[in-house]
């Protein structure tokens, strides 16, 4: 059955609100309305203490940009995410490939891997802090471990998912193990690995921030924790806003990367 009036050449004309432009304007209107309501309510209906206000948040952001602290904290977090991500992906792919090609070994240690995976990563944070101190190393470690597991599992799943019939047909053609690995298995597993890499970006960000929340002296997570402790709601929301922006930028970057329009950052 067709969706009613889909692709209809005749039929009723679309009301303005449902056109692309109309929808966009409506969205902007909603956001503006929420911000205005927030500004109005703050101080009058709800104490500024709890929810702050858009103007206060903006002021805090301006101050941070002015005194350079924004960049310092941002740099700390982004470095932690970036370094941890790279290490985690590298290790995850390497060990994933290794285990993928050694199915028996993989089967044996699979339950151990899942067991370690089920520990909430945040619980490892104190361990890393004890081992590496309060600096960026412990955050990098936390991010790396988080990303490692996700990429590892994706890669292993990708390799296991290869249709054995395809392998067999290559074997019959006379391909060596190495050739089968490079021409069939790795290319087939690539999309799985990429999916794992893509998913783990979000988790990497969360891990870095959480690590900073637990114990740090700089970073966006630190800003959240510090400002909470200072009962500075505006500061907390400002930090969250930065977090959201970072997330949006990263998601955009990833989407573009996938579509191929951004310069290749990864060596694949």
């Amino acid at each position: 059955m067709p969706t009613r009036n889909s692709g209809d050449v005749t039929g009723t004309s679309t009301p303005f609100l449902r056109t692309t432009l109309g929808v966009l304007l409506l969205r902007i209107a909603i956001v503006v309305a929420v911000l205005v309501a927030w500004e109005m309510a703050s101080g009058r209906l709800i104490s500024k203490f709890w929810v702050s206000s858009p103007s206060a948040i903006f002021a805090v952001l301006r101050r941070w940009v002015a005194d350079g602290s924004l960049w310092m904290h941002l740099e700390a977090t982004v470095t932690a995410i970036g370094a941890g991500y790279v290490i985690g992906c590298g290790a995850g792919i390497a060990i994933g490939l290794l285990l993928g090609f050694l199915p028996r070994t993989q089967r044996v240690i699979a339950p151990f891997l899942s067991a370690f995976y089920s520990i909430p990563k945040i619980a490892l944070a104190p361990l890393f802090v004890i081992a590496f101190g309060i600096g960026i190393e412990s955050k990098i470690c936390l991010v790396a471990v988080t990303v490692f597991f996700l990429v590892l599992f994706s890669t292993i799943d990708g390799i296991r998912d290869v249709d054995p019939d395809l392998i067999e047909s290559l074997e019959i053609m006379g391909a060596s193990r190495f050739e089968i690995a490079t021409k069939l298995i790795i290319p087939a597993a690539k999309p799985w690995t990429f999916t794992g890499m893509r998913i783990s970006v979000r988790y990497a960000t969360t891990a870095a921030i959480l690590g900073e929340v637990i114990a740090a002296n700089r970073g966006i997570g630190f800003l959240i924790e510090y400002n909470s402790g200072q009962f500075n709601a505006a500061g907390v929301f400002a930090a969250v806003l930065i977090l959201v922006l970072v997330g949006v930028v990263v998601t955009e970057l990833l989407t573009r990367l996938e579509r191929g329009s951004a310069p290749a950052v990864l060596p694949f």
């Binding site: 009613r4 692709g7 209809d8 050449v9 005749t10 039929g11």
Partner: protein, 279 residues
Amino acid sequence: MRTDSALQRPPSATNASAPARIELRGAAKRFAAHGAEIQALSAIDLSVQPHEFVALVGPSGCGKSTVLNLVAGLLNPSEGAVLYSGKPVAGLNRSVGYMTQKDTVLPWRTAESNVGIALELKCRRVTAQARKDRVARMIDLVGLNGFEKHFPAELSGGMRKRVALARTLIYEPETLLMDEPFGALDAQLKLLMQDQLQTLTQMARMTVLFVTHDLAEAIALADRVVVFSPRPGRIRTVRTVDLPRPRDIFNVRFSTAFARLHEELWNELKDGIALGTNV
């Protein structure tokens, strides 16, 4: 609103001045797809009398399904008019039961729960007990005894089709729209289902609009067969099927009258395809 009834209705007095159940006057349908305009249906005129069984036959893409969608109110005509019981079709036409090619059985309900769903709706006012009885009767009619409590994922394609058929017939819609309902079934099952369909629709005196590829099926079941030409869909021929009712579905194809009609219509179909442009 139908109250619980046996599947029998007294014959209505059909006279020439009573409105046709379904009427298409110069109805055409165009779609915009991928930047181009596709003419699914050229202006056609078709009228279906109450209690009539009309089969629409033709090659793929000739607009047969579009006709059904127009009658059901799922589409508006780009040109012309589509009338139901004398009034233009506006919005979804709730007097029809529509059995589509695609499987629309609800996967999370058992077979019997699926069959009874139409009777759960408020617009019908059927008591739970009455519903159970009618469902049981329907299940029996389509031969799914023993499978009532199975989920669709556990049933074969043919069985799912039977569930869909039972589900559509159970509330005795005034008109039945069927889009190649038996296409995916094996030959034996197809004949069985055709037989059941004939029995049920004759008993309840439903008007039926039946789309199919299978010319033999069309002739066996219908009062009239409408042959379409390839896209853009146009009606090539309309022939009345004079075979007496009730018809023995299993053996009717061996009669000479059938064979003659089949040959005639087959030639129409063939010529239509030969002359036609893209399918």
